[in-house]
Assembly symmetry: C3
């Protein structure tokens, strides 16, 4: 039986894969290409994290992530005419995925036995887990990575990481900390999108 | 003395490097850039495989791959006016390389001592060995990876991997399995190119 | 107290980060995106080296690299109207960084205890340490990597690596070898830029 966290992780995988598959189809990738882009969006961040932590990439021993990416492909095919109406639902799923992936990345880093990483490294690993899949997706699509130009996305992961650190120091309770960290990511992301809050840009030199 | 498999591997390296070098020259890369792109095409897939398997990248202890990529560079320079006529020959070499790299990737994964990977992971590692070098090449060239849009390429590796699994289960004979797997890749690729068989695309949402 | 080599390394990190941040700002990245591109330019090469060598990426246990990339971001913001006038200064810093990163990469490879790498592998690792960050930067910017098309850059690292090998064989003195190797990189780079020396291109096939 999958646990509650497993179910959240599958929701995140599904939502991340859908974002990759949809963009790939818009660029006229074939179904195989779309599947690879969806899969890379879903598992790319965690794979980079695991390579940096020198541990076996999480998807190499458990097939759920490949299967859920495949379900996402079938879903996009079946509902291709109705996906735009579901954009808000996908946004919620994607944000849940972002929050959960970040917390998973932080905890995996802190639980590595070989090496005592400082907490800021854990925050970076959480951010990579949540946000690097989207960077790989955009490189495959031959686009400038979206998270470098628009919206608050990776910054939400960093805020979630700092919240994790503070909450754990204050309450020393894992469940409270996980909820506080996830909530801070979800709220940051929703507020940023709703009120169109973005980060400033440094003006070009030639202006 | 190089073995028969060594010779096939050098042919594959040479053919993969040539595909990278030719495309780089078309984009006006200098000879160093062309060499790096050719080398990355030839060794990129195996390097990603070895990073994922947490083993020393194969080319770091054996200089043949760098040397064959260098020979490919000289070859492209000398025969630059005659390469188009050799396209069919390169296609055969490239397909042999694809088949061999895939089989090598599968077997290296199954022979890892630290970790018992499921067979589907071995198929993915075989496919990465065969096809990921071309993805890196296209990223360096700032193009959308060709294998995501056109032709059956990576899918041939997956078919080869499934053939490997079935053949090994039926005959339990390594040589028969290697030949069956390679042959299935080569035949799939030749049939797909000859009859222009491609994978379907999911229509855009806005149509 | 930071050592002399530490200080050179911080200068290199600062200069590499500035090159990434400036180009990112020109492409209208937000401050977070600019910081990530600057950081990736500064630490990307060493990270790939450490993944290939199967050792913990150098920046995961020491925060200086992240901090110096942050200082570079603030610097670019404060002096955004005056940066063009500083181009020559940045060029010197960047070249010092290139030389130092290459030497660090060579020595880290030769000092790996688990594995006896041949010296040509150390030269490649030195070149990756010095030059791969710029390749990642250009991929993030969705540009063809500059070092594949223009100027002598990575080749200077290779010349520095060969100089390292010859000097160590002749003098067997670490300090002399480090100085000789760095100097050969800096001189190659300065001469190449001053006299606009580039590598030849192989003419296109269709000409």
């Amino acid at each position: 039986m999958p646990t509650f966290v497993d179910i959240l992780e599958y929701i995140g995988t599904f939502a991340f894969a859908i974002s990759g598959i949809r963009l790939a189809c818009q660029k006229d990738f074939d179904v195989f290409g779309a599947y690879v882009v969806g899969l890379a969006t879903a598992i790319g961040g965690g794979t980079i994290r695991d390579l940096l932590l020198d541990t076996t990439p999480f998807w190499m021993l458990k097939s759920s992530y490949l299967i859920w990416s495949g379900i996402a492909l079938i879903f996009v095919y079946l509902f291709r005419r109705h996906l735009i109406r579901l954009n808000n639902t996908f946004f919620i799923f994607d944000t849940i995925g972002l929050a959960l992936f970040t917390v998973v990345g932080i905890e995996k880093t802190m639980n590595m036995e070989d090496c005592n990483y400082p907490f800021w490294t854990a925050i970076i690993m959480g951010t990579i887990t949540g946000a690097a899949g989207g960077v790989i997706r955009d490189i495959f699509l031959n686009e400038i990575p979206l998270i470098f130009r628009k919206e608050i996305y990776a910054l939400a992961c960093i805020i979630g990481g700092i919240t994790y650190y503070i909450s754990q120091a204050l309450f020393d309770n894992l469940v409270i900390t996980q909820i506080a960290s996830s909530a801070s990511i979800i709220i940051t992301r929703i507020v940023a999108v709703k009120y169109k809050i973005g980060l400033p840009h440094i003006k070009r030199e030639d202006n």
